[in-house]
Amino acid sequence: MAEVTEEKMKWGMAIDLDVCTGCNACVTACAMENNIPFTGEDESGYGRGLHWIRIQRYWHGDYPEIKPDYSPMLCQQCGNAPCEPVCPVFAAVHSEEEQINLQVYNRCIGTRYCANNCPYLSRVFNWFDYEIPEPMAYYLNPSVTVRRRGVMEKCTFCVQRIHAGQEQAKAEGRPVQDGDIVPACAQACPTDAIIFGDLSDPQSRVSQMARSQRSFRQLEELGTEPRVIYLKGGGQYGG
């Protein structure tokens, strides 16, 4: 039996803004996958929704010719993450294995410093203990922990799915292939705007998209080295 050597993979995501319709399916899927509680209309409206991904909507043009512009915003899994050095208790850490930025809920003491320092504002805080009533409790995903009040949380690139995919591949005695691992948001996207994969593999779909002329990274000038690549042509590159 061939020994599968586990090479470190550099997970990344590409989001094609030219095909994003702003349908919020990724937001819903993420909430289902990651046991994100509902905070209610009022709290959510006040800015306390716990979504790990959200659709930023901007309007372009002058009335009446205005066009919406959607931009899904999630944790950029920065290579040089501003949230990590500010945490006094090492709750925001970089995982060596997956090379993504993780939040250790059990270590978090809730200073919210990481959230202030995140230029993408992609971190959310558990302001209360949120109750998940009985029939809805059945949808909870057993692979993801539920969080209590007073801790910070954020997108994990569906790290549980990454692990499941790797274990599956290992069981089958083959390396992880492009497309094996799909986070909930990418799976739910009806227009296939979100692509997930290994950035260290030049043949992967996400790497090819990253090399596109249309690609850019959010707030790249800050030196955060985001792992999420956005594509936007503004209608100039056939997008």
């Binding site: 006040y46 945490c87 208790v89 978090c108 003491i109 959230a115 202030n116 209360f128 801790v151």
Partner: protein
Amino acid sequence: MAAEVKPYQRVYKQSEAEEEDPRQHLMLDPRPREEMNHMVMEAMTTTSRRYWIIVGALAVAVAVLLFGAWGNMIFTGMGMAGIRRPVFWGVFIVTFVFWIGISHAGTFVSAILRVFKAEFRRPFTRAAELMTTFGLAAGALYPLIHLGRVWVFYWMIPYPNSRWLWPNFRSALVWDFLAITTYLLSSTIYLYLPLIPDVAMARDRSTGWRHTLYKLLALGFRGTEAEWTRIRKAINIFAFAIIPVMFSVHTIVSWDFASTKVVGWQSTIFGPYFIIGAILSGVSAVITILFVLRYTLKNMDYFIREEHFDALGLLVLIFSMAWAYFFYNEYLLHWYGGGTVLKQLLTLHASGPSAWVWYLMLACNVAVPWLTLWNKKLRRTPWAIFIVSILINVGMYAERYTIIPLTLGHQRFPFDWGEYTPRLTEISIALGTLCLFVLLYLLASRLIPLIPVWEVQEGQESHRLRKVGKTQVPSVSELE
């Protein structure tokens, strides 16, 4: 020819009018030592019914407003406060910075003015040092209050633990934690050292539980030459050593902000800017406290005089100008080098929905002191300078409010901009710590001599009016 005589006359008259009574200076108005000791003892032991009613009311206020609201927030969740997604830090951190700022007064007045031998400091060094200790006590609660999970706050303390984890020394919050602990410890020792001769004095003049307490606190101080030499040496060492600690503490508090990527926080001048602001608010708070002491404690109008308000008023005016310089400097540098986000942010500070906070800050920190404190007559009117000192602290609170929630609310993505309104829990906790500060101060005012008698006496001994020809010239001699 007559026209030439006239100005001469006027000058003559003016100099006559300016020849003030030297007795209005505390240092040149000595009283017998025993009488002065008695005055301080009387101020300390006299309690009225009104005093106890106020103490009781404050104790209830601390229990309900501070610990009640905080307890409720611990059991319910941070959501009781008004903070929300873009504005993760609100009134708690604002009040924290405010109290740490207030706590700079004691060290500034006591250590820096002692090192520079500013004689006017003598009667109120203790009052200012107490502000340091109690301001820190009130402020140091906030790093705990603002934690989402306060029950595990000790994870920030470096100690060998079962988690096999040290705190993250790269985090400014850990520096903050260590700096504040250092400052609290050293300022408490620095409060205690000059207190020893005074409690020894009180020990010899009291009976009952007070005698026992002072006996303990005085550590057997008898006033021998050797003891004086040692205590002077210790105070001197601490006076010099605590100055860099004071500067470092507020610099580190400013690094909580300056070392981040937040637009409007990431600034190299935050360290000195915060220190100047802290001293401005701290010295103003000393004026506030001195006014209250003068009118509530017995015999205080002998010790705290118009000359002290005058001198402190000048200090406040100078620091207000320095603060304005830094404020302007911040804008200047941002205008030159800042990007669009910063420009938008600064515009929103001055024209956004919460712009009144920004204008309040400028009015109270710049307009009020500049328009009033140049006037010697006003500086020597206690109630007037009292009002000015309160306004300056309102302005400094507004400054911190502008820096923290108003800056966090408008970061790089306009989609996520958000306004923040403080909620009842936060306001109640902030008021609760104010009550805690006043309560601690009230209790201390009846427990320890608020006037460093020995320092006043030492000053009076070194000041003399010498006759030079027909005039009397005040002169100071070095005792040490």
